[in-house]
């Protein structure tokens, strides 16, 4: 029963491939958004560290993978790994700054660093294409066999597979002593320190891991769309990721998946039905959810199943 419940989202995701062959681009977008939300969940949901600049890692991953593809190394999987490594490196370098400042100030430092990277990418047009985006990205077929096709079949299966693997890894992570210690820090940093948890070091580790995850998500976007642009680094991207996560429910991993799917589908459906005023309805939904539900959609789901 429990296993069936865990398998359900993935069965739905695979079923969607067959049931909605015409919706694959949207489904890929959901998978990538879910991975980004998942990376935020590790940091915000589990370690309790809120960031407003997570798009820095997403965008960095996107540009790294994109530039690799543009410069003649279009092998996708190594591209993902390199993007993850570079994003993690940025995380490692910035973690001390971000952790130094403490709560509100730390939050603003993440925002500031994110904005700085955005500006840097904007100015480094020789490398990034500036405001016009990175042109001429060429990604080779996955495993040398599966080309990124117009229907988005490869893109979706590839994104889904990466999401799945990283989800399993995340699950392993949050259930491990390390993951437990992150939750402990979120729940009570005072007590966490008193049982011998090196709080800052663990938070820094979570920050680096989340950075790598976000880097992979960004790289996936760049590879599947063969394009990278500044908005991958934008504050909006960070905020949207947080919205998805809060919408789905923090600290459950599944919340990230559900939130990303719900937000993307709602956004897509509403903007299709009303290209000019979809924000109104999306806004109403967000306001209502914030007023009514605690713990996001996962919270609501749990309350329903408990009843």
């Amino acid at each position: 029963m429990r296993i069936a419940l865990h398998a359900l989202p993935w069965l739905v995701a695979i079923g969607a491939y067959f049931a909605m062959p015409e919706q694959l681009p949207l489904l890929s977008a959901i998978a990538i958004a879910a991975l980004f939300a998942l990376s935020l969940d590790l940091l915000v949901g589990y370690a309790g560290f809120v960031t407003l600049g997570h798009a820095a890692f997403f965008g960095l991953g996107a540009y790294v993978a994109g530039i690799l593809g543009q410069q003649g190394w279009g092998e996708p999987i190594s591209g993902l790994l390199i993007a993850a490594a570079v994003a993690a490196l940025l995380g490692l370098v910035t973690a001390p700054l971000v952790l130094r400042a403490g709560e509100l100030a730390g939050l603003m430092v993440t925002l500031g660093l994110g904005l700085m990277l955005y500006e840097a990418a904007n100015k480094a047009a020789f490398l990034t294409g500036g405001a016009d985006g990175l042109q001429g990205v060429e990604i080779w077929p996955v495993f040398g066999a599966f080309r990124f096709d117009l229907w988005g079949r490869t893109a979706y299966l590839y994104s889904l597979a990466v999401l799945f693997v990283l989800f399993l890894l995340a699950q392993l992570l949050v259930r491990s002593p390390f993951g437990l210690s992150l939750r402990a820090i979120r729940e009570n940093p005072k007590r966490a320190a008193a049982i011998g948890i090196p709080v800052k070091r663990r938070l820094a580790a979570a920050y680096v891991i989340a950075a790598a995850y976000a880097g992979v998500a960004g790289a996936l976007l760049a590879q599947t769309t063969q394009f990278a642009s500044l908005d991958a680094l934008s504050f909006q991207r960070s905020a949207e990721g947080l919205l998805m996560l809060v919408l789905g429910g923090l600290g459950t991993l599944y919340g990230a998946l559900i939130g990303a799917a719900a937000f993307t589908i709602a956004h897509h459906t509403l903007s299709e039905a009303s290209p000019q005023f979809w924000q109104f309805w999306l806004g109403i939904a967000l306001v209502a959810l914030a007023l009514l539900g605690r713990g996001g959609l996962m919270g609501a789901l749990r309350r329903m199943t408990r009843r």
Binding site: E22, Q23, L24, P25, L26, S28, A29, N122, G130, A131, D132, G133, Q135, L150, W151, G152, L221, T225, Q226, F227, S229, D231, A232, S234, Q236, S271, E272, A273, P275, Q276, W278, Q279
Partner: protein, 387 residues
């Protein structure tokens, strides 16, 4: 009434299951991707209304096929969304043409989809030279910045202006404009005193204009995206640049018809070069204005609207030529070399480059009947993009 029904149809179609869509395959579906929200929403609204004006004027049936527009919002800032929407429209909605594309990065992101899906992609707003080279299926009915800029440089040089500062927005169209102006102007013996680039988002023009004032050129050449001109012109006036003897010249984007009237007296006398003015004196334009007023009352159509109007016309003419056949390669072939008289004047789709060839007008902002208009006073016929 007709448009409303088309809209209703479009809405039901999007909500209904894919099978239903196939049952309506007699329709010729066009996927229209525009920034309908966000900072560039006014561009989307204008193009959309231009298309509706064409449909209102010419009916929704072309060569026995009913035209159906599927409008999507890409918010203007997310190229990956533009690309995904293009992909979806092609794959799921089976559109036979893509259209719209408010900004250069958005158009560039969607170009590979057009190539791969082999559907014509009609660029109605974005204006960087390079766009049409990105796919053999791209056709353009807007303009290019070098196209609109070079005549301005020439006019300035010919009218005794020797020393110019340039101020452009820091993205591809701006750089295109900067380069085109500089090349043509220096070739004609002019000198560029100062080159400034302002950020695309959150620009504050005051410090830039202060620098211009310090440099004291004879004229300031400006390119900023549609809508931004107001803030710039106000600052120009407030800084007292006019009193300091600096004239404003620029491309028509700066004195966008959409907001020209509200920009007020600060614009009077500014010289710009562009391919369309709502004040263009022709029967075609009067008819266009009339149809447009029925779609969007109280809004003056600008060059974006005419790009949409002509883009729709281009698709329709191509479809007529193929006798309703919606094969992408045939449609593009049919579109190549088409010429007609648009509300802006005579235009041609170049058979080789698929880019637009059109007259560029030199205009002066003047008050007529209580409103401010860009009054055309000189014309450079059939200008090509030279970027």
């Amino acid at each position: 009434m007709i448009t409303r029904r088309a809209l209703a149809l479009a809405t039901t179609a999007t909500l209904a299951a894919p099978r239903l869509v196939q049952a309506q395959s007699g329709n010729f579906r066009i996927g229209l991707i525009l920034p309908m929200t966000g900072p560039f929403a006014s561009t989307g609204r204008q193009v959309d209304a231009g298309i509706k004006a064409w449909l209102r004027r010419n009916g929704e049936s072309v060569a026995g096929r009913r035209i159906e527009i599927l409008l999507r919002d890409d918010t203007g800032t997310q190229p990956d969304v533009t690309r995904r929407l293009a992909q979806e429209l092609v794959v799921r909605e089976r559109v036979k043409a893509l259209a719209g594309f408010g900004l250069t990065p958005l158009a560039l992101a969607a170009a590979p989809i057009a190539t791969e899906a082999k559907v014509p992609m009609v660029v109605m707003a974005a204006a960087t030279s390079v766009i049409v080279q990105r796919s053999p299926f791209i056709l353009r009915t807007s303009f290019t910045l070098p196209q609109a800029t070079a005549p301005m440089a020439q006019w300035a040089a010919a009218n005794g202006i020797r020393n110019v500062a340039t101020l452009v927005t820091d993205f591809a169209p701006g750089l295109d404009a900067e380069r085109a102006f500089k090349n043509r102007f220096t070739a004609a013996g002019g000198r560029i005193a100062l080159e400034l680039r302002t950020p695309l988002r959150n620009p504050d023009y005051a410090p830039f204009l202060q620098r211009v004032r310090d440099a004291a050129p004879e004229a300031l050449f400006i390119f900023v995206p549609s809508g931004e001109g107001a803030a710039l012109m106000k600052q120009f006036a407030e800084r007292g640049l006019a009193q300091a003897g600096i004239r404003v010249i620029g491309t028509g984007d700066v004195l966008d018809d959409d907001i020209l009237n509200e920009m007020g007296d600060v614009t009077l006398g500014a010289i710009t070069s562009h391919h369309y003015s709502a004040a263009h004196d022709s029967a075609e334009n009067r008819a266009f204005l009339e149809s447009y007023a029925q779609v969007l009352p109280n809004v003056r159509p600008n060059f974006m609207a005419v790009g949409g109007f002509d883009g729709m016309h281009l698709i329709a003419e191509a479809l007529k030529r193929t006798n309703g056949n919606d094969d992408g390669e045939r449609l593009v072939a049919a579109a190549k070399g088409l010429s007609w008289t648009s509300p802006r004047g005579p235009i041609t789709i170049d058979a080789n480059t698929r880019d637009i060839v059109q007259d560029i007008y030199i205009r002066r902002a003047e008050r007529r009947d209580g409103q401010i208009w860009n009054i055309e006073f000189d014309r450079i016929p059939q200008v090509r993009d030279e970027g």
